[in-house]
Symmetry: C2
């Protein structure tokens, strides 16, 4: 029997922050859940837009033209090539949607890079 | 200043059932909100997977191998070419993610087809 993917159940298996975990694929796109806390680094993805949907908590995404604030049930799509810095105001549960192979630190790389394509 | 897209606010402008409304794009994909009530028709999309995320209510998706049940905070991706029939058990608020240009009735068409690419 086919089963739905429950975000809360999946988050119960994701204790770490800033480690996106794949929960499903749609064509060549991936749905990823990530737990965030505090500030990430400024980065950009040169070849793709990136969609953020907040499941719980409050997320600020700093952008060149100013910050965007997201709460539960809110979506923001960061356009390709636009520098952005996610900042979780307390713990955030986030759903990310982007093409397979996109690195969390984008073109910047560095020590905050998480392994890609890890499923939960 | 950039603004988040709030699902509840968008739904307040969607009184009709079975009329998907576009709220955002990511590359050549669209995020659509739809209010559902009751049974849709069996159909399939030959060239693409289709992602369903329930925002509120209870949705059953009938599939050849049996039904999948989705509540709020649950995701299911119907694979390309797989026949499916959404059935809303009472009113459902749904987020759909799929490539631009996908018709709600897929290859079947008919009187339940909704206009495509209508934004809210």
């Amino acid at each position: 029997m086919p089963n739905a993917i429950n975000f809360a159940e999946k988050f119960s298996h994701i204790p770490e922050c800033w480690q996106p975990r794949v929960i499903a694929e749609m064509n060549d796109y991936q749905f990823k859940l990530a737990r965030l806390d505090g500030e990430f680094i400024w980065h950009q993805h040169a070849s793709t837009d990136e969609a953020f949907i907040v499941i719980s908590g409050s997320l600020r995404i700093d952008l060149p033209e100013g910050p965007v604030l997201l709460g539960p049930g809110e979506l923001y799509v960061v356009p390709r090539g636009v520098e952005h810095r996610p900042c979780a105001l307390g713990e955030v549960q986030l759903l990310l949607i982007e093409p397979r192979g996109v690195l969390n630190t984008g073109e910047q790389g560095g020590e905050r890079s998480a392994p890609n394509d890890v499923w939960v």
